[in-house]
């Protein structure tokens, strides 16, 4: 298993890099990943509008480029050209800082995104835990954004956003704990490598608890990214625009970008933890660059599917009320996640870490003989 891109390339090319070369490769790789993510974030807005139009039987953007696909570029240009308004009574230092915190937090979390067995930027030993830490910066950014505007709408949105993000981090963390329990390690390659290419080897079907856990995680990550039906902090009809009411121009763009990238990251983590990640069948991953590209394709397909589901949910379900939101988190998801954790631990103990499928297989094999 290749640790990082550098060692992968070093092995493939048979060349050992000095520190400048390493730095250059890392820099290029990080830049590529960040750009891809920015692109995905931008395309996310387009996809959102297009899919919503599809669901509501409208056309959606269709003027800029073929099928309106360049719409996001036009949006970006528009953002660049907007005037930068900072409210008079605001806390200017924090006002400028908060969008940066959001974007930095999200982009820093990309380092452990397991895109393929070779193309992982930093295969940290604490991979998933690091990701949790990095994304928790976003919550602080959102709260500070809401606070600094000195606007009542923004303040309400910021408070709600922070409360919601930290609340839903609890079931998400507990669910991730149960998956770590199954995999026996925190590094992303351990978590993904423990699964197989086919659904029977995925952790979602490993045992009944992880099957429930997937949905807990998915709901929790929806709420953590302030997506509908949990978009209380930016509920247009109640809070104008939530914590980024007062932000305009590029500062607003950073918030939006970080949100869309975070949605993708969490979808990708869901795909990696539960849906087999980049695993491909028949030993194809051994075929050098081709194998890596296939893994990339598989991984991004799964992630995009989940991304589609997220958008689909947004345009299907109505928004929840804020107290229902908190009740859902603390009184349903958290106890369920705790139960899942205990159940998974007991399952691992009882069945010696075997998955449901393996037990079934053993049963059938045993009865066939």
């Amino acid at each position: 298993m290749n640790e990082t891109i550098v060692s992968y390339l070093g092995e493939t090319l048979g060349y050992s890099f000095n520190w400048a070369g390493t730095l250059a490769i890392f820099f290029i790789a990080s830049l590529v990943l960040a750009s891809i993510m920015a692109l995905i974030g931008g395309l996310g807005t387009y996809a959102e509008r297009k899919i919503s139009a599809d669901i509501q039987m409208r056309y959606g953007p269709n003027r800029v480029g073929p099928y309106g696909i360049l719409q996001f570029l036009a949006d970006g240009v528009k953002m660049l050209l907007k005037e930068d308004c900072i409210p008079r009574d605001s806390d200017r230092f924090i006002f400028k800082l908060s969008p940066m915190l959001c974007l930095v937090g999200v982009l820093a979390s990309l380092a452990v995104l397991p895109t393929s067995s070779g193309f992982i930027l930093a295969n940290l030993n604490v991979g998933i835990f690091y990701l949790l830490g990095a994304t928790s910066v976003v919550g602080v950014g959102i709260f500070l954004g809401g606070y600094s505007s000195n606007s009542k709408w923004a303040m309400l949105g910021g408070m709600r956003g922070a409360a919601q993000i930290i609340s839903y981090e609890v079931p998400v963390t507990l669910t991730i704990l149960s998956i770590v329990l199954i995999a026996g390690g925190l590094s992303m390659n351990t978590l993904v490598g423990g699964q197989g290419a086919f659904p029977n080897d995925w952790y979602i079907f490993h045992n009944p608890f992880s099957f429930i856990g997937f949905f807990v995680y998915f709901i929790g990550s929806l709420a953590e990214t302030n997506r509908a039906p949990f978009d209380i902090p930016e509920a247009e009809s109640e809070l104008v625009s939530g914590y980024h009411t007062e932000f305009s121009g590029m500062r607003f763009a950073f918030f939006a970008l970080s949100e869309y990238i975070e949605v993708f990251v969490l979808c990708a983590i869901a795909a990696a933890l539960f849906l087999g990640g980049y695993n491909i069948p028949f030993g194809l991953q051994e075929h050098g660059l081709l194998g890596q590209l296939l893994q990339l394709a598989v991984f991004f397909t799964k992630s995009f599917f989940l991304y589609y589901v997220v958008i689909w949910i947004r345009w299907t379900l109505p928004r929840m009320r804020v107290d229902h939101l908190m009740i859902l988190c603390w009184k349903y998801l958290t106890p369920i996640a705790l139960l899942n954790l205990v159940g998974t631990a007991v399952w691992m103990y009882c069945f010696d870490g075997k998955s449901f499928y393996m037990i079934l297989k053993q049963l059938f094999v045993a009865s066939g003989q």
Binding site: F27, I86, S90, A111, D323, G353
Partner: protein, 137 residues
């Protein structure tokens, strides 16, 4: 050490993107501030008072419960990570037991907060006897 390098590089790139975009927009955007433009949005009215006045304790209580959970899960992560190894070594029972005790104590806190109504959002911190009296009515 190079394992951690991408993290710092990504942060660096993020800052690069941010400042690049801000400088770019600084160069090309218009800038003609006015008093009204710089007023916080309050449905078209002039804002009354400051926004930093109405904050509710329940946010704090939620954050409190969260931080306890956060620390507990941070402590549980390493234990959970070695659980499988201990299982393979055949002494998983002890680890399972210690985990269960840990979670059990955690659950007690949750139950306490639940019973006391700290987890309710629309709250009324009423005692259970009040609830029962209401139910009787």
């Amino acid at each position: 050490m190079d394992v951690y390098l991408p993290i710092f590089l990504l942060i660096f790139i993020a800052l690069l993107i941010i400042f690049g975009a801000l400088i770019l927009s600084y160069l090309i955007r218009p800038s003609n501030p006015s008093l009204i433009k710089q007023t916080a949005y309050e449905c078209g009215e002039l804002p009354v008072g400051t926004a930093w006045a109405n904050f509710n304790v329940r946010f704090y209580v939620v954050a409190l419960v969260f931080i306890i959970f956060d620390v507990e899960s941070a402590l549980m992560f390493p234990v959970v990570a070695v659980y499988k190894r201990f299982l393979q070594l055949g002494s998983g029972g002890a680890v399972l037991l210690s985990l269960l005790v840990f979670i059990g104590v955690l659950i007690q806190g949750v139950i306490y907060c639940w019973r006391k109504g700290d987890l309710d959002w629309i709250k009324s911190y009423r005692t259970s006897s009040d609830v029962r009296a209401k139910g009787l009515k």
